[in-house]
């Protein structure tokens, strides 16, 4: 599979503070990467750099195809904006429409398909902020899909969601990978990380990159999280009071 995302010695600084350093990645099309690490480890910074919202202070990023689709957490959306579910997903078509381009049949089809895949088509006329947290997150994932990008970047997409929303979103991510998209997911959940093809364990700079089995070892987790994880049988679970799982 050709490479969708490449980073070389990527570094991002906020003033004098190094938020992310020495990140070398090659993410092929049709694969998923989980980015895991403690709070403030640079997960969202990496996503921002890949999305183009944060400028690297050093290193290089190469993204194949059109601009990547960034799926944020529903709490990132301004609550004062009155916007329907359909209009929220339709925002994703703006890159191809420009300032004044009319919505074409293909745009409407992309929006309808995305709404259906995330099982929010029946909510299309509702106000975004009237929905539950899980429904809002599904709408934002639908927005990401409707952009039609080859690269999907998701910031903790199933963090604290109800079972239905979590299942729907994880299934859609699997489908996107199967259809050849490159998917990057930040997470605090080791179980979600294990679902991906590759894992990047981050604490400002990478602690380990590789398959889930190679990366999610007791030694690596201890280096990243200190004592904030517990062993359950043969597996490890993060004991992170800031996240709801």
């Amino acid at each position: 599979m050709p490479v969708a995302i490449t980073t070389r010695r990527l570094e991002v600084r906020f003033g004098d503070t190094v938020a992310l350093a020495h990140v070398d990645l090659e993410i092929p099309h049709g694969s998923s990467l989980a980015v895991i690490g403690p709070n403030g480890s640079g997960k969202s910074t990496l996503l921002g750099a890949l999305a183009g919202t944060l400028a690297p202070s050093a290193g290089e990023i190469a993204i194949g195809g059109a601009r990547p689709a960034l799926v944020q957490q529903s709490t990132d959306v301004d609550r004062s904006l009155p916007i329907t579910v359909r209009d929220t997903v339709s925002l994703a078509r703006y890159p191809s429409l420009g300032l004044l381009g009319r919505f074409r049949a293909e745009d409407r089809r992309a929006v309808d398909e995305a709404l259906e895949r995330l099982a929010v088509d029946d909510l299309a006329g509702r106000q975004f902020h009237d929905l539950s947290g899980g429904q809002r997150q599904r709408v934002l994932v639908a927005q990401g899909l409707a952009q039609g990008s080859e690269v999907l970047l998701l910031d903790e997409p199933v963090n604290g969601l109800d079972v239905v929303s979590r299942t729907v979103i994880l299934e859609v991510i699997d489908e996107e990978v199967a259809e050849g998209r490159a998917v990057v997911v930040t997470t605090h959940d080791l179980e979600d990380a294990r679902r991906c093809d590759a894992v990047l364990l981050l604490d400002t700079s990478p602690i380990a990159v590789g398959t889930p089995e190679e990366v999610l070892t007791e030694d690596h987790l201890r280096r990243a999280f200190g004592g904030r994880f517990v062993r359950v049988g043969d597996e490890f679970v993060l004991d992170d009071p800031h996240h709801s799982h």
Partner: protein, 282 residues
Amino acid sequence: MDAVFEAFEPAFMQRALIGSLIAVVATSLVGTWVVLRGLAFLGDALAHGVIPGIALAVLWGFSPIIGAFVAALAMSGLVTVVSNRTVVREDTAIGLLFVGMLSLGIIIVSRARSFTTEVTALLFGDVLGVTTDDIRNQLIATAVVLVCTVVLYRPFLALTFNRAKAQTLGMHPRLAQAALLALLALSIVASFQAIGTLLVFGLLVGPPATASLLVHRVPAIMVTSTLLGALAVVAGLLVSFHHGTAGGATIAGFSVLQFFVVLAGREVAVALRRSRPAAIAA
């Protein structure tokens, strides 16, 4: 009905009505984004920040509209620079420049002894003194606001949704924010002659905020805000004409009063809806 026809028979009242209605269009279009983006404090500060520009224009004999626009652009630019380049929060930067520009305006005014009338008109407007030239200038400024609001609707919507999302969608949030501030300045300039710099904020925030209680789509808020603003203008001018109150202040007062009337009505409606099942059950 006779009271309405009587009030709008004099030519100066007709000009006041037309000037105020044009102001309402500009302030409703921009004010909707001001309310949704949470820029009310900046809008208020900008409305006062234009005073030194206007004062210098009157003193040196050039167009107050140009003076006001340059002052507003300078102020919004300085707010952006201070908040981007320092750890000072944006609201502190706005507060500093708000007081700074207002002080500068008053200092300039205090150096010119023959300024009393102009200053009063500047601060509180002179809606009954709106001239044909004022209306022409307002029309030009409002046309620019209208065209820019249509062309930049998508960048403004994406920016309000989320700044990072706007960037990934290629909607240039920094440019959109700068354009929004320029339009805010222009809408203030288009309105201050009718309603005054102290009171234009009432039209910028009152009708859009009231509209946001009634409708839930951005274009609908703009249209409803314009209608509500027009209602405030007509009511304000009628009261002003028949009871001798200050025109601009009465219009601004009505535009704020509308908000609390609608809010109270909505609360009563909610309370009635909640009490109905209990009454049925009883």
